[in-house]
Symmetry: C2
Subunit: 277 residues, 2 copies
């Protein structure tokens, strides 16, 4: 057993997705596309006599984090610090799970490979019902296109070759579980259409246009989101809704140009990594 | 047709490999493992009436670069600036090819996906005989483990979850073509054994130990390389030979501690990316 270790995991806004449940959680997940953000979650793992999680300074129960530690057979204090709001479509729970897997592997010399750690976090997240595709996207970085559902070895990824500056504004959360527990037939059909269109033309304008179409067709838009997206388009920019949150993301200075007080960040080029101090 | 565009591709030291020729270049390549370096190659592509390549300020004939442009159906001036010596086991030719693919796609709005661009560069590099596995490793970043040969969609990758500081020293080049054109039976058997060992224990010490064993078994060591590797080990460090060059890389400050005048850099966490200015 060695010292503490730290990992950084980018945030991830999902532009669109289709849900693919399966009895085996490593195969289950979502297809879709999104953008990895260099605003993310920093996770530090310290060996401890009892496992506990501290999220942004407060004790928190993040189910996939506990699951990951349990399956690695270790007990630790996990300190997760997020640049991003929780539950608003940025993949914070997936980031916490993946960061825990990477940092715990380093702190306890578990000797797992990156794919094994990604799979562990993906399975924990699917089992907890907190997300379907964020973990594999966050492990990849850039503008990930998830061609298949599932963990590495199941799901094959591609990417849009661009690294845009991003702005985002969040009006609040949407329950991932509530949406995914309902009938997802229409949503998944819309997500599959969007993915086909993006594969035909893997560019940022297509990603954003398909994201807007998906939000309409899957009936996920709220009034505040619609208003903000329309304002950015009216100002000549590109924006869409982050799945699943009451959150709008825009390329470049789209939200600022439309008069919103937005947070700016870059696309995170790398996937999640251990941080060497 | 838009303006110029730039891409950055990390260097890549190969720790060990096995050669897997195939009639189809997208399937051919090597298995193995290595480390992506944040010293790399910056490639700028500008539309031009005639294609020419400038490497570190001088006109150069880099075959895979020309092939990539031709298959994208464009003509351009390609300016490649390398932090790393050419022909010394850092994957500079693969980096030039991949950087050209990414930058040309952006400059000419070719609308290809990342996997398509990686495949294009991989095929061009295999056809030119300048490398077998650097391109896919450089596209991934980190400490890539190539479980299969070939382009994305053929070859499946994993990684060692570590991001060490690296030092390197190069005494000169070795001809990749000369080694690969010979009998590679022993080399490939040694590379396969090394890969199995690393998959059992995907850690940095195993990567370096297997690299040293591979260099011995494949009979690739030179006197200067042996001396430098031994000096680092004697000083309590970890070092090995970069394939294929008369180059030694070490973890942390291994070469400096052993009295060598080495270049230091970090592991590059991301794969190759277009650079947004």
């Amino acid at each position: 057993m060695s010292d503490e270790a730290t990992a950084f995991v980018p945030g991830h806004v999902t532009a669109f997705f289709s849900a693919h449940p399966a009895p085996e959680p490593a195969v289950a997940g979502s297809r879709g596309a999104g953008i990895a953000l260099d605003d993310g979650v920093r996770v530090t793992v310290r060996p401890a006599a009892e496992t506990r999680t501290i999220l942004d300074g407060d004790p928190a129960d993040v189910e996939p984090v506990g699951t990951v530690l349990e399956r690695l057979g270790v007990m630790a204090t996990v300190e997760a610090d997020s640049d991003l709001p929780v539950g608003a479509g940025f993949g914070v729970s997936g980031a916490a799970a993946l960061g825990t897997a990477l940092a715990a592997n380093a702190a306890f010399d578990c000797g797992r490979s990156e794919n094994e750690l990604i799979r562990l976090a993906h399975v924990a997240e699917v089992e907890a019902g907190t997300g379907l595709g964020d973990v594999v996207a966050q492990a990849r970085g850039g503008v990930p296109v998830r061609l298949d559902s599932g963990a590495p070895g199941q799901g094959f990824l591609d990417g849009v070759p661009a690294r845009p500056r991003i702005e985002y504004v969040s009006f609040g959360g949407l329950s991932t579980a509530a949406v995914l527990d309902g009938d997802t037939t229409d949503l998944t059909a819309a997500g599959d259409r969007a993915l086909s269109a993006l594969r035909e033309e893997p560019t940022l304008p297509t990603l954003l246009a398909e994201s807007r179409r998906f939000a309409r067709e899957a009936d996920l838009l709220t009034e505040r989101v619609t208003e903000a997206v329309d304002a950015v388009l009216d100002a000549g920019g590109e924006a869409a809704m982050a799945m699943l949150g009451e959150t709008v993301f825009a390329l470049g200075t789209g939200l600022t140009d439309a008069g919103y007080d937005a947070v700016a960040c870059d696309t995170h080029p790398a996937g999640a990594t251990v941080v060497e101090e």
